[in-house]
Symmetry: C2
Subunit: 336 residues, 2 copies
């Protein structure tokens, strides 16, 4: 049995999307059970409208919320009645709980996971690893994307190892192509951190390192894993998402200006929706926190029911695949 | 009289676009004169087809090319017959030469400008400052975008001062809104470099600092200047450009798949071209190297004639506006 704790509070859309999304996953898998943390009455009210196996669902009352205005490290220590605190607490202290899914504060999650749940032995720093869709209908993982704004070259090398295993386990990519985010593709490009990391990755026989890459090529589908420090990875993801969204807005404006355009848009509607759907992060689940002692998936703050469902599916799949064990076995060997 | 040296080699499209683009600018301004460096015969052949004031044009024979495969610092010292070497040499040693425009190697240009032409007194490091179009039909300057992969907080503060003056002089923006690129908008976000820079910018009464910004908001039009270290600035620009290009490709694919889509695309054609045109960097001239002792504009490696024209116009405008003098007057006062 795989047991996941679902933090129902802290996301923009409240408990309903979290409960309903997770129950969808529950129905699909006989060997999945859930613990919801949050406002017990609210959770039970939402559950009342659903049909599911009640024996596989528990609730843990913790109605307080950690918001993005709270200081993460303080909040995860002090807000003991918060749904996130409770979820982290269960993950740490309940041996039967395998993983956690939350739409809440990224900072508090990171602090709780690192300070309380701990790391896989040998892992220097856990790292967030979301994926983005690529133009050839695949995905690319960005590791780290914001957990560690300061990194050294050994950490970056570990990110490469962990994200490679993740792409194998979660997406079935054999021998994932790993690139180092840099200001140019030539070997000598970048700062000391990049030069040192390049040397480590080049020597590492267990990572399929294909060299430096430029930010403009992230969506092209040439790479399966992009290795970055948390600052640059964060900039990469947010600017790519931001630009895609602005382009869609511009397109929408074009489509609605004048009768001729409206008619044209009507003809294209179906395929443009496909294009929009393709760029929609709600289809890709959350960002896994690689290197944490237990499975942790951060679903987007504005997650819909579908997004939470995808995130719970991801956590379930990672547990089934034995990603944590694979990282534990490989991290020392592959990064030293 | 404003005299600009135009490096005709090193770009993807060769000398023709450089010569023709620059001559277009020459015709528009009676007080502009040009020196072309490159293959004299080739330059004269291209000039032969143009109508212009011959008294205001010179050539300096230097037919060798610094390519992107050459090591920048070595090339700018050793390739003495290269068009870039000659251009830097003229800029440094000919007092009548005010500025330089090139489509050639960014690395060699930077090395030549910093090592030979030198900095404005008080400037710690020159920085590349390109602009990107924003959704409200303005532009936003990104400083630095790749000249300095390692930065300290004083350098970043100087980038803010220089880029503010640039936006005033080149684009007539009064009191430009300056934001610091970070992983979140809250004051305490980011690494030590961002925290230190935030404190310096907040105290600096001569910069209109509006706080931290996230990469996803760069195109939204809320900011006039984005301050970044060269690594993050480079990632920001390249991922934004890359995502826009990939979206246009996806759009093109959608427009040509099936008869219904083709018909729809036909109706929308005019406005979609407008959208494409809006995102086209060829309309925005080059990236100025702020803080250099003389005006230096790097035009894109794949510049067309129009791009070079815009870059020459930019160099001319910056000279007329007295940007260098303004930086010299403000840099000490505004950053200490």
């Amino acid at each position: 049995m795989i047991k996941l704790v679902i933090d129902t509070l802290g996301g923009d859309r409240g408990a309903e999307v979290c409960v309903k999304g997770a129950v969808r996953s529950l129905i699909e898998h006989d060997d999945l059970s859930l613990v919801f943390t949050g406002d017990e009455t609210e959770i039970k009210n939402i559950l009342a409208a659903e049909k599911y196996d009640e024996k596989r669902v528990e609730t843990a009352h913790a109605p307080d919320v950690i918001s993005c205005n709270d200081k993460p490290t303080d909040a995860i220590r002090q807000k003991k009645e918060s749904s996130m605190y409770k979820a982290i607490d269960l993950l740490k202290n309940d041996a039967s709980v395998n993983g956690l899914v939350t739409t809440g504060s990224t900072g508090a999650l990171l602090a709780g996971a690192v300070l309380k749940v701990g790391r896989i032995r040998g892992v220097k720093r856990p790292a967030f690893c979301p994926v983005m869709p690529t133009m050839n209908m695949g995905v690319v993982a960005i590791c780290d994307s914001g957990a560690n704004v300061d990194c050294d070259s050994l950490q970056l090398t570990q990110f490469a190892v962990m994200a490679s295993l993740y792409m194998q386990k979660a997406y079935g990519v054999e021998n994932p192509k790993v690139a180092l985010l840099n200001v140019g593709t030539e070997e000598e490009k970048g700062d000391m951190l990049r030069k040192e990391t390049f040397a480590l990755l080049k020597e590492n026989k267990n990572v399929n390192f294909v060299g430096n890459m430029e930010a403009r090529d992230v969506l092209g589908g040439k790479y399966d894993v992009v290795v970055a420090d948390g600052f640059a990875g964060n900039v990469l993801i947010k600017s790519t998402e931001g630009a895609c969204l602005e382009m869609l807005k511009l397109l929408k404006k074009t489509f609605t200006s004048g009768l001729k355009n409206k008619l044209g848009a009507l003809l294209l509607k179906k395929d443009i929706y496909k294009m929009k759907d393709f760029m929609d992060y709600n289809n890709y689940g959350g960002a896994v926190l690689l290197g944490c002692a237990k499975t942790v998936v951060k679903s987007h703050g504005s997650s819909k029911e579908k997004t939470v469902y995808k995130s719970v599916e991801l956590a379930y799949k990672l547990e089934k695949s034995g990603l944590g064990k694979a990282i534990a076995e490989n991290i020392a060997e592959k990064t030293e």
